[in-house]
């Protein structure tokens, strides 16, 4: 654990699976499942920002909760700084938690309205065991300052702050243990554009200052492109494409990535552009398909896609895609 030599990835997720059981539909039917994660594998290197993009129901929040060891994992492995966390009890995990912290989406829901800012920010220190009051106050003051809040804010309550400031408090809380990894689940999607930019810049600055690694989850491709070095695109509980941000955004190799990028409206680009469109209906999270998970909506679906599952294979340097016809997709771009 203490051996944090630089080649060990900060986060290493291997073949992570998580299925939720649904209540029975009838007395005699088998209970259904929500297939939230179907074998997810990726690594994040120290000091990098890793973006996870996908639409609602693709399993990205489940992934965050599993990486944070906040719920039971069905199978697979999550290693943080080389240390396996799957299978550890809550008590065994406690001392490790200082190394990985989380920022949540809702700046109103993620702060306890009955606690002062000082108490909220100091909360993760609980895992460190006994710590003197003076030391605690010093660290609270330090992180508050580094996120752009004032030291005297410690006695205030969350309702006295605006949404953007609240998200700063949440960031301060995640930073107080000087973690290696911060999992940020849609940290700016509840904010207005002008405030969102402030928070994004803050996250960038803090990465430089603290050398922290981000696992950044968002549905907003532009935000991910702005912040992240590497991106994974998720669809129905699987990573369908992964690569360095500049490669993946300029030369997508999976039709879903392509469509996602095309669907983002761009200001100043005039009336609707030509683009690839989705067909068919959304596949539910409770259904499973033989073959490619994207087959129901893919505009270029073939018989092969319905019978054989495409593996996540190399399509370029550090660029993986799970499509039988990724070369055709790349060529079209």
């Amino acid at each position: 654990m203490t051996d944090c030599s630089s080649h060990v990835p900060v986060l290493e997720v291997t073949d992570l699976v998580r299925h939720y059981r649904l209540p029975r539909e009838s007395l005699f039917a088998k209970p259904g499942h929500v297939y939230a994660l179907n074998g997810v594998t990726f690594q994040i290197q120290r000091g990098k920002s890793f973006g996870i993009v996908g639409e609602s129901g693709c399993g990205k929040s489940t992934l965050a909760r599993n990486v944070m060891a906040l719920e039971e994992t069905d199978s697979g492995s999550v290693k943080i700084l080389g240390q396996e966390v799957v299978g550890l009890s809550f008590d065994q995990l406690r001392p490790l938690r200082q190394h990985f912290q989380m920022i949540f989406q809702d700046p109103y829901g993620s702060l306890d309205p009955h606690h002062t800012v000082g108490r909220i920010v100091a909360e993760p220190l609980a895992a460190l065991g006994a710590i003197s009051n003076a030391e605690r106050d010093r660290r609270v003051a330090e992180v508050l300052e580094s996120v752009g809040l004032k030291t005297r804010d410690v006695t205030k309550y969350p309702h006295e702050f605006s949404g953007g400031q609240r998200q700063r408090i949440a960031i301060a809380r995640a930073l107080i243990t000087h973690p290696e990894l911060i999992v940020a689940d849609e940290p700016v999607s509840a904010l207005d554009v002008s405030v969102q930019a402030q928070v994004l810049n803050l996250l960038k600055d803090l990465q430089v200052q603290y050398g922290v690694t981000y696992m950044f989850i968002s549905h907003d491709l532009a935000v991910v492109e702005y912040l992240c070095d590497e991106v994974a695109v998720m669809y129905l509980g699987e990573i369908v494409e992964k690569g360095l941000t500049e490669n993946l955004f300029t030369n997508p190799a999976h039709p879903y990535t392509r469509i996602l990028l095309d669907a983002v409206p761009k200001p100043g680009s005039g009336k609707r552009r030509e683009r690839i469109k989705l067909k068919g209906n959304v596949t539910g999270q409770t259904e499973r398909r033989v073959g490619c998970s994207f087959q129901d909506r893919c505009p270029m679906v073939q018989d092969l896609c319905r019978s054989e599952k495409p593996p996540l294979k190399e399509v370029g340097p550090d660029h993986l895609a799970a499509c039988h016809f990724s070369d055709k997709v790349s060529a079209a771009g």
Binding site: R24, S26, L27
Partner: protein
């Protein structure tokens, strides 16, 4: 059969069994020797022993519980210790008074609640609303048996419009009987009606703030049409919950108010039985009342699913 219904029905059965066990436990096992309870502590030992045998109390508890339940299945409740007649004979007449009284009161209170609640909600924060809510606040504070005494003083003693108490019996004609039940029903319904009226009002106001009400208004529906077509059905969900809870209050209220009016219902029966140490009557009447409460809550659960299609889907 939908899983929803099956699940609720199973809950009903389990709750009934649980309730009967609790009653059996409290009435027959906790006191130690029921014979001693019946005869009093000073009774001679020989009398206690012979009564114990006579009542079959020397047999093991599970066996006695099973006898009780299987008897109930066949409509038999055993014999009253005090009157030496089948308990069912005593209970039958009492139920035929208490049940109509309870139904009459719940009907009155729901009607009262809907009229007042809807009027108040429609005139939100206007004089009518504030006055009605003030009155209902008073209504929920008045003990029902005191209200019963007050209506007797007013309608029976001062105005002499209605009988002060007693019950003529169903042979004497339905009208006469309903007249005798009217005052008790009013006394019971006022309090429950006040509670329900407040719930109705706040629930209607809450639903009026929903997005789909705005959608309905955007379609061109008037305020009134929106109320009837979109608000009411949704607003009934919490009202239904509270009606279910209030039914228990109403039923126990019946026990008390029957005593004010000297009506020979379940309430009078059970109090007499307590004075006579007739535990077998108490046991059966309490189970009967508990069954009514449980059944009403079961009906409320089923009604939920009728009103709200989401519930069925959610719970299937």
């Amino acid at each position: 059969m939908s899983v929803f219904f099956a699940k609720r029905f199973l809950t009903l059965i389990v709750t009934l069994i649980g309730a009967s066990m609790v009653i059996f436990l409290v009435m027959e096992i906790l006191p130690g020797d029921p014979a001693l309870v019946i005869l009093g502590v000073d009774a001679p030992e020989s009398a206690v022993v012979s009564l114990t045998k006579e009542l079959g109390l020397d047999r093991p508890a599970p066996e006695r519980y099973w006898d009780w339940i299987s008897g109930l299945m066949q409509g038999q409740m055993g014999n009253s210790y005090a009157y030496k007649v089948p308990v069912w004979e005593l209970v039958e007449g009492a139920v035929l008074i208490s049940l109509p009284l309870a139904l009459m009161s719940i009907f009155l209170s729901v009607v009262l609640a809907l009229v007042i609640g809807l009027y108040a909600a429609a005139n939100h924060n206007k004089a009518g609303d504030i006055t009605l809510m003030g009155i209902s606040q008073l209504g929920i504070s008045i003990p029902n048996f005191w209200l019963a005494i007050l209506v007797i003083i007013l309608f029976a003693i001062e105005l002499r419009w209605l009988p002060a108490g007693g019950f003529p019996g169903w042979d004497e004609g339905i009208l006469k009987c309903l007249k005798a039940l009217l005052l008790p029903a009013v006394a019971l319904a006022t309090v429950v009606g006040a509670v329900l009226a407040r719930i109705t009002r706040s629930s209607v106001l809450e639903v009026f703030r929903e997005d789909y009400v705005r959608t309905a208004r955007a379609k061109g529906l008037s305020q009134r049409a929106t109320l009837w077509r979109h608000v009411l059905r949704n607003a009934m969900i919490p009202v239904l919950t509270v009606t279910g809870i209030q039914f228990a209050a109403l039923l126990t209220g019946t026990v008390v108010v029957e005593n004010v009016f000297h009506i020979p219902g379940l309430g009078s029966l059970v109090l007499k039985a307590i004075n006579n140490r007739d535990t077998i009557v108490v046991e059966n009447v309490v189970l009967l009342l508990a069954t009514m409460v449980i059944t009403v809550n079961f009906i409320v659960d089923i009604l939920y699913a009728v009103i709200d299609p989401r519930l069925k889907a959610h719970d299937i």
